[in-house]
């Protein structure tokens, strides 16, 4: 019974913890950030160090073609990003203008179904959509007109007023309070930057190819003028956090497995010591040690199996619960997550592989532990053990 419950506990702990870690922000940030910024972007060479519109570039058909020619790459999204003041009634706020290709951008980050009011923009619209937090702050609604004031290309001033076509709810509260999306063409005219973009977002399926794609682009473009960057390079602090978190997670898991191993071995050891006399009696009245070992091994195995199955059955609902009702994070990590448009919650993942892997590891641990009684029986001194 003790053995069964210790194995059950081991399974519950291991799977639960792994499910949390797998679901943890590290991986979420990884995918979500990658999704939002694109895994690879191409900029004008100086743009990343000094993100002003003056370091933007004019769309160059040749460059786009060269990039698209690379095998893995499905296409590119053009963005023109810069800052402006937005003003409505008595409220003024610094905002981030994102000139985007509406259809492609929707395909990439799914903006359309985040619209909470009004409609999504089309490529040739002369209107904008803005984050719900920003709309609230500016006290502006769909159909109203928003005044924008900023700096255009090469010091030209950018002033204009655009009707609000829709309000979009961005998961990141920070972004939600400052982002304005407008069609790329409109942004180019607002900033007086014909055919200008700041980022070429490279679209491809498999994030595992990020490095390769970036390298492939850099190999074919004129790197004195342009530069391809992976999202990891674009957000190094975040990467550090993720890596640190992953390393911490591995240490935690190692410690957990050690505790589990000690627990399982401890109980097996105890059980064996407790039953030594019983074993000695069996051998003295005529049971072959081999047979006893077989039975003992089978017994331990069955107990472990019951423990593991019980553990899995117990864990599924717990993991499921925390998947549906994730733990909400607070503090620095939460902030940095929100900055990247990710909700600061910690759901678990209900992943068959986690169950499988951890169950296998525990089967190995208990399997090794099951060998101890066998040695104990083999080496047993019947007379000593009988005396107990």
């Amino acid at each position: 019974m003790i053995t069964i419950s210790s194995v059950t506990l081991a399974v519950v702990l291991a799977i639960f913890m792994r499910s949390f870690q797998e679901g943890s922000y590290g991986i979420m940030v990884e995918t979500a950030v990658g999704k939002f910024s694109g895994y690879v972007q191409v900029h004008q060479k100086d743009y990343w160090n000094d993100k002003t519109i003056d370091n933007g570039m004019v769309v160059n058909e040749q460059l786009i073609k060269t990039i698209k020619n690379i095998d893995e790459i499905n296409g590119v999204n053009l963005r023109l990003e810069s800052f402006s003041l937005a003003s409505n009634k008595m409220n003024t706020k610094g905002t981030m203008i994102m000139g985007v290709e509406p259809a492609k951008e929707d395909a990439m980050i799914g903006l359309k179904n985040k619209i909470v009011k009004g409609e999504y923009i089309n490529a040739n619209d002369q209107s904008i959509i803005l984050g719900s937090g920003l709309a609230k702050y500016l006290d502006i609604d769909v159909g109203d007109t928003l005044v924008l004031l900023g700096q255009g290309h090469w010091g030209q001033s950018a002033i204009n007023a655009y009707p609000v076509k829709g309000i979009v709810k961005i998961p990141s509260p920070v972004l939600d309070k400052q982002v304005i999306f407008m069609p790329l063409l409109l942004a180019q005219s607002y900033f007086s930057f014909e055919n200008g973009v700041t980022s070429v977002v490279v679209i491809f399926e498999d994030p595992d190819y990020t490095e390769e794609v970036s390298a492939a682009i850099n190999a074919v473009i004129d790197t004195t003028q342009y530069q391809a960057m992976t999202w990891q390079k674009m957000t190094p602090e975040l990467i550090q956090q993720i890596e640190g978190d992953k390393a911490g997670g591995i240490i935690m898991i190692a410690i957990l497995y050690m505790i589990i191993a000690f627990g399982v071995f401890g109980t097996v050891l105890m059980m064996t010591e407790e039953r030594k006399r019983e074993f000695a009696v069996m051998v003295s009245i005529g049971m072959q040690k081999k047979k006893l070992m077989l039975i003992s091994f089978y017994e331990t195995l069955m107990m472990n199996l019951v423990g593991i199955i019980a553990g899995i059955l117990l864990t599924i609902p717990i993991v499921y619960y925390y998947k549906v009702n994730p733990i909400t994070l607070t503090g620095e990590m939460a902030e940095s997550m929100e900055q990247f448009g990710i909700e600061a919650v910690l759901p678990t993942v209900l992943d068959f592989n986690i169950f499988l892997n951890n169950t296998l590891i525990i089967i190995v641990i208990t399997g090794i532990a099951a060998i101890y009684p066998l040695f104990s029986i083999l080496k047993m001194n019947v007379i000593k053990s009988l005396r107990g």
Binding site: R277, E278, V281, M282, V283, S284, I285, G286, M287, Q288, K289, K291, V382, I383, L386, G388
Partner: protein, 229 residues
């Protein structure tokens, strides 16, 4: 009379201890079928050691234990275990029933090792439980039986496989006088009616009184071998 065990100049010296202990120091004895014998002596005189040698649980330093014409100290440990299963019944001071098994399962244990059929087992156990007066306790676990009842189950276990002889080390040491006399009655009856050979190690006067042969042991040496009937 048929000889069941013959021991010749048996010696057992424990050397792991600081001082060498000659626990059994040159014992020669013959045990015959149908004996009811007590090996008697003060604590530490070597009774348990002698019994362990008789049962092949321990190997002698020198000398022979011949059962059925075979010197069991020459057998491999595998063969000795098999030999015990087929020929020897053990009764221990601490009963040593297997706690997770019921009374009946405990008694059947050796018969199962011997692959006896279910019918055969059932008949034998029913017969034995009746003979030793614990009918109705078949499905009870040892922890819920009294000491006397547990020891009777142990006797049933020892007898179940129809061994050549029973070795019992201080079987009454943990029992009160009622349970002791009941147990002795049962064993005497089995001895008389079924000609089962019993060899006890004991310093219990009640056992000595009921024994038909008493072997006195002192410091590993036989000092007296008394046939009472």
């Amino acid at each position: 009379m048929k000889t069941v065990i013959e021991i010749k100049n048996l010696q057992k010296t424990y050397t792991e201890t600081a001082v060498e202990v000659k626990a059994v120091n040159g014992v020669s004895l013959i045990f015959e079928e149908g004996e009811f014998t007590a090996i008697v002596g003060p604590s530490g005189c070597g009774k348990t050691t002698l019994l362990n040698l008789l049962g092949g649980l321990d190997a002698p330093t020198s000398g022979q234990v011949i059962i059925d014409g075979i010197d069991i100290s020459t057998l491999s440990s595998r063969k000795i275990i098999d030999f015990r299963m087929k020929n020897i019944g053990f009764v221990f001071q601490a009963y040593n029933l297997i706690p997770v098994l019921t009374a009946k399962e405990n008694a059947e244990f050796i018969m199962q090792l011997q692959n006896k059929s279910k019918v055969e087992r059932e008949t034998r156990i029913a017969e034995l439980f009746k003979a030793i007066g614990i009918e109705g306790k078949e499905d009870i676990r040892p922890s819920r039986l009294s000491g006397g009842q547990q020891q009777r189950v142990a006797v049933a276990r020892a007898l179940a496989s129809k061994p050549k002889f029973i070795l019992a080390d201080e079987p009454t040491a943990n029992l009160d006088s009622v349970a002791t006399s009941e147990l002795l009655d049962i064993m005497r009856k089995l001895n008389e009616e079924e000609n089962i050979t019993f060899i006890f190690a004991t310093h219990d006067q009640r056992v000595i009184d009921r024994a038909r042969r008493v072997v006195y042991l002192e410091d590993g040496v036989v000092t007296k071998d008394e046939l009472k009937e």
